[in-house]
Amino acid sequence: MSCGSGNSDKPCSCAGNSVATTTAASEPDPTRRAMIATGIAAVASILTGCDKKTFDEFTQHNFRELGKAEINDIIARLEAEYSADYGKPVHVGTEPAMQGVVFGYALDLSRCVGCRRCVHACVKENNQSRDPEIQWIKVLQMDKEEGVSLQHADPYYTPKEVPEEGHFYMPVQCQQCRNPPCVKACPVGATWQEPDGITVIDYNWCIGCRYCMAACPYGARHFNWGEPNLPKDEMNPDTHYLGNRPRRKGVVEKCTFCVQRTRKGQYPACLEVCPTGSRKFGNLMDPKSEIRYVLENKRVFLFKEDLNTKPKFFYFYGV
């Protein structure tokens, strides 16, 4: 076969191309755009030395813009990656918010004894970095004489036994604001409020600028300064894309009311471990829920209410 260019004794350089064109034309649906994308991908992978997985990760869109098929691909990729990394089958869920559910949390300040069981149950459940350990809950020891005053709060208390005389304890975690300053601050839309009121982060879309951390008045957001050293045997394989799946260095993370548990009807891990029963959780839209009982019958206050963040995390006095 000859195209008429060059010498006839040499094989024609465009022969391969004509074959390729013929093959492409015989395939069911090869669009021009897909071919260009594949070409660019091939060139980019040669130039950068990246494999397909890295390239897919790089070109992944914001979670909210993804279609079902794309989500399935991403979940399959992540599950394979995590399963290989942690040496056990890892499930990455994408359960959406339940209809007619807005989550609320209430914490009884008159009962909390400051034992920090919740802090460590949270770390265990949510696959936080272990070295240095990231903790999503901070328990503040406060003076009874001063009341709720951050000037008299100490998160580093270490007595032999709690509660200590003259003190009370106030665990602080993400307040799941209805008017979240962190969401407003994010320049890339990597964090948003879900229909059930949980503010979540797409860790693959987060650029690590930490504007959200500066905006949060509760110190509820935490940054992975280093690679999260999460031991294989301590990794919780039951995860959610927007919740406790393993994070990497350079992204922000926060409490999600244990989205991987609560969207399946379970209570958050911090609630289940609390020995005093200070923590109450439920659906704010359900008039029969315990959370509504608390709001309707107890003395309730919002932390830093003056900032108009409108938290869905309530503190109350059960006595």
Binding site: V113, G114, C115, R116, R117, V119, H120, P132, E133, Q135, K138, P155, Y156, Y157, T158, P159, K160, E161, V162, P163, G226, T262, G265, Q266, Y267, E272, C274, P275, T276, G277, K280, F281, G282, N283, D286, S289, E290, Y293, V294, N297, K298, G318
Partner: protein, 188 residues
């Protein structure tokens, strides 16, 4: 509708309702607990935390070898480990434990009560706590926020003889940021 027919229909309705409740209660395994007016159906309490080897109390308190003695006194032979710090000084064992039938508790009106439903006894004085406990606001609740829940008994967390919540050792505090920087060779 003639009056006798209406009465008959309402009786049938009541019967059907009772039967349905009984079936539901048995299916869910709550039949062993006597119903209490106002108790939500979902209450499923953990077994009472009785000390190993002490129950049934009638093993010793049989009314023959061990005659019932209602007099308030210092315990010397048995139950020396019990420190009674519950309410006023005048409180005594038989205020809550039945004098004759030691395997039962005793309400203020003299009714006997099973250990499994001791919350009714506590609720006599601590009505506000009992009310909150029944709706799931006082005390720990596990299970599902939109489904079946499990309660603990009052005595699962509060020792009935000395009910103040026992002090606990706290778990480790967070690492101070300055410590992390030092370990990594200072701020970068």
């Amino acid at each position: 509708m003639p009056a006798p027919r209406r009465v008959l229909l309402s009786r049938i309705g009541r019967l059907l309702r009772t039967a349905a409740l009984l079936v539901a209660g048995t299916a869910l395994g709550w039949a062993q607990f006597p119903a209490h007016p106002g108790t939500p159906d979902e209450i499923q309490v953990a077994p009472p935390p009785l000390t190993e080897g002490i129950f049934p109390c009638s093993g010793c308190h049989d009314g023959k070898a061990q005659k019932p003695n209602p007099i308030r006194r210092e315990m010397k032979d048995m139950h020396t480990d019990i420190e009674l710090r519950h309410g006023p000084e005048t409180r005594w064992c038989t205020d809550c434990h039945d004098l004759i039938d030691r395997d039962k508790l005793r309400l203020a009106n003299g009714d006997k009560l099973d250990f499994k439903v001791s919350y009714q006894l506590c609720g006599q004085c601590h009505g506000d706590k009992y009310r909150d406990w029944r709706v799931g606001v006082h005390g720990k609740r596990t299970g599902s926020w939109n489904g079946a829940k499990q309660y603990l008994l009052c005595v699962s967390c509060h020792n009935p003889h000395s009910p103040r919540f026992a002090a606990l050792a706290p778990m480790p505090p967070p690492v101070r940021p300055e410590t992390i920087q030092r370990r990594k060779g200072g701020a970068r």
